[in-house]
Amino acid sequence: MTLKIHQDHSRFKQIVRGKIKANLRKYVQKGEMLGKKGKDAISIPIPFIDIPRFKYGHKEQGGVGQGDGEVGQQLGPGAVEPGEGHQAGQGEGDHALEVDVTLDELAQILGEELQLPNIERRHNEKIVTQKIRYTGINTTGPESLRHFKRTYKQALRRQIAAGTYDPNRPIIIPMREDRRYRSYKLQNLPETNAVIIYMMDVSGSMGDEQKEIVRIESFWLDTWLRHQYKGLESRYIIHDAVAREVDRDTFFHTRESGGTMISSAYKLCRDIIAADYPKSAWNIYPFHFSDGDNWSADDTRQCIEMLRNDVLPNVNQFAYGQVESPYGSGQFIKDLREAVGDTPNVALSEIADKDAIYASIKDFLGKGR
């Protein structure tokens, strides 16, 4: 049963969607969404969805309350309803409305707003599920699946053809051969799996602000790729002079000092791919973030070699994001650009500050690979 309100409800959702779209850049920059993420949905504060009126500011207005307490005593948080004072029940709040948006929907909005192309999957779809769909009609079947309308029609047709149909006494009696049954077909639903391998430089030069940028950006990358692929796995590698695999939480909260050997991370990345993600079954997305300082030109050469020989041939896209830091020389992206910049499945992006995240997401996802 559908309620009439559903039309208004979906209209409301459409409007919310428009608001999110219009404010997407702000949401991306501020990273506002991260703290509000649930499993499948995110709750987003939408300001200005209420209808403006001539009204009093509640703070100037005050009101009348009821209860114990001395004059001058503070009322606890939440005691005062924001909005129209004691017009209980019909107050519109001053607070922003929080709405739940599914991550899938958010990804769609992101895609529309940034005009992201859908990812072209590599030909490695594998069948994961089969689904029963009742699409056909059969002349045999169990009674529980009898299609009454079709059966009736068939009987009516037969009776009219046979001249036994009397419009004044329109009784239709289906015979055995009139009966129609729903029949199902097994449908193979191709599903593809994907893995993101995040790598981040956690050496001393990567400060909190840089990591925050990586965190925000990875949220959007996750959201988009999750929207594109049914199953998405994530792996996390942190590195300074050595690399190790960690969980998501550690990934974003580790800070080390010391030197940087990017090759260590790429080596680990290569090994993970070789061990767990055969090219034939997985879409693979390594993302690497650093401030662009590497230990030596020699190490950089190693990195490029490894990229060329082991990583690039096996992955959908390799992405490198260089987060500007006051300490980094920012050399690495230049080296990469020179060496592999022309390769189609390489995406390079420089991220100066939070404002640049928006454009950077497009750098990474805009190729549709």
Partner: protein
């Protein structure tokens, strides 16, 4: 879709109906319908009606209600429509004791709707009209497009509170078209018909013609200065004078109609909820309650009566005030003798055994609205007993705090919050401001400033209806200010008051 009552519930309804009649309640026929929780949320989102015109904000209400219910934060117990017959909804999943409570409560509301003077002019066929409004708006949507119609509704809703709450009781505006025709008639000042040309000077002396012309000019000028007196019903003014397309006028008229329909409910919230609560409590505890239901009943009743420090619960304040009045008139605690008695002990034991309480409250429910109700019956004793206080925002501590417990301040703050629903009073002063066709509104400042960002957004919406620049005179920080929106930008200038 709504179902009719099960035989069991129908029997309970008949039982409660009997008690309500026995106690002297007088109401329209009341039809109860069973709904599921999401139907309840829908109907509540629609303001109690099964059908409303299409608009996204019902969807927003619905989302909030549905979420509140799913998270177990809130639940709608009763919904009743002021209509003849009254319609009320019962939620399927509720236990029997709740259903009885709701029925008793509903009969209280229906009695109030039928008898209170504020509702005398309300449309008792509003269910039909709401459905008609929905059809009309849908037809415009088909013709004009959903975006345009909805956008217009958004802008009009922004002005929805600018009605004259008392308008249904007063007939003030003569037909504007008729006035226009009169002016036109007067324009013909050629004078009397002249048969012989040489007689013209005698029959129509030029001084006479001149004075006639002058009179017409004056009249035109006066007509240009409109409205003659400040007009509270801004929506009506726009309806009559704004350059609206037919579809826009139609929608504006619909929204104005609906706003007026709901106005009396806003004017009598404390009385009405209090009255319904008084009756559900009386009927339940004196008649309908079974022994095994007492705990559940007490739980739900106290849930409804709960207060929190920074808000007035109309159910609680209302029921207590009704009981206080009943008690005072039972004991004869009113009149000159009572007022002049200073002896505290005598006052405390005052009981003239008048027993006039019931009669008094029935009389009060007829002739008062929230403002006169509070103004007349809120006593210092009552305010103290109910622990009422004035609260305000302390900027230094950045928090709300109790400001005052003095009776007069509590009462005047309470009344202030009830005047015009606690919303600013705004009037149209001039529809041809500066002789440039601009609209000038005035805010009757009563010590509280308008919320600035909202005021500017509202002006923007008003301008889109008036299509010429709009202005409002108000006061900020004790200085006169005129806010203006000319169609592209906002400005503000100081004015002397």
């Amino acid at each position: 879709m709504p179902k009719s009552l099960t035989p069991r519930l129908a029997a309970l309804r008949d039982e409660i109906h009997g008690y309500a009649k026995e106690f002297g309640l007088d109401f329209f026929d009341t039809i109860f319908e069973m709904v599921s929780y999401d139907e309840m949320n829908m109907v509540a989102a629609y303001g109690g009606f099964p059908t409303r015109y299409p608009h996204w904000r019902w969807g927003m209400e619905y989302e909030q209600l549905a979420k509140g219910y799913e998270y177990g934060l809130s639940k709608i117990y009763e919904l009743v429509i002021n209509n003849d017959p009254c319609y009320a909804y019962l939620m399927e999943s509720n236990p029997e004791v709740d259903q009885k409570l709701v029925m008793a409560h509903v009969y209280g509301h229906c009695d109030f709707f039928k008898n209170n003077f504020s509702f005398r002019h309300t449309n008792r066929r509003m269910i039909d009209d709401m459905a008609n409004h929905a059809t009309r708006v849908r037809r415009w949507v088909d013709k004009i497009g959903v975006e345009k119609v909805e956008d217009f509704i958004d802008r009009t809703l922004s002005l929805e509170n600018l009605i004259d709450q008392h308008a249904p009781h007063i007939r003030r505006n003569p037909d504007p078209k008729k006035a226009e025709e009169e002016v036109k008639a007067n324009e013909r000042v050629e004078g009397f018909k002249v048969g012989r040309e040489y007689m013209r000077g005698f029959i129509n002396p030029s001084e006479f013609l001149d004075s006639q012309r002058k009179r017409v000019e004056d009249e035109k000028l006066r007509a240009k200065k409109f409205p003659e007196r400040p007009q509270r019903d801004v929506l009506m003014f726009l309806l009559e004078h704004a350059p609206l397309e037919p579809w826009e006028s139609d929608i504006l008229a619909i929204l104005r109609d609906e706003a007026h329909y709901f106005a009396p409910q806003g004017q009598t919230k404390i009385m009405n909820e209090g009255w319904a609560s008084y009756w559900h409590s009386t009927i339940m505890t004196r008649r309908a309650l079974r022994d095994d239901e007492i705990i559940d009943y007490a739980d739900h009743h106290s849930g409804t009566m709960g207060t929190r420090p920074g808000a007035i619960n109309p159910y609680k304040l209302g029921i207590e005030l009704w009981r206080d009045i009943e008690d005072r008139w039972n004991k004869g605690r009113f009149g000159k003798e009572w007022d002049e008695c200073d002896d505290l002990r005598a006052r405390r034991s005052w009981d003239k055994k008048l027993g006039a309480g019931r009669e008094k409250i029935f009389e009060v429910r007829k002739h008062y609205n929230d403002i006169t109700f509070i103004d007349t019956f809120l006593t210092p004793e009552f305010a103290m007993e109910q622990k009422l206080f004035v609260y305000g925002f302390n900027d230094k501590r950045n928090s709300w705090e109790i400001m005052d417990r003095e009776f007069r301040k509590v009462k005047s703050k309470l009344l202030q919050g009830l005047t015009n629903f606690g919303q600013p009073i705004i009037e149209v002063v001039d529809g041809n401001h500066e002789n440039r066709g601009e609209l000038l509104l005035a805010h009757k400042h009563d010590g509280q400033d308008l919320k600035g960002d909202y005021a500017r957004e509202t002006l923007r919406n008003l301008q889109s209806l008036w299509r010429r620049p709009v202005n409002i005179v108000t006061r900020y920080d004790n200085k006169g200010a005129m806010l203006r929106f000319d169609g592209t930008s906002h400005s503000e200038k100081k004015v002397d008051l």
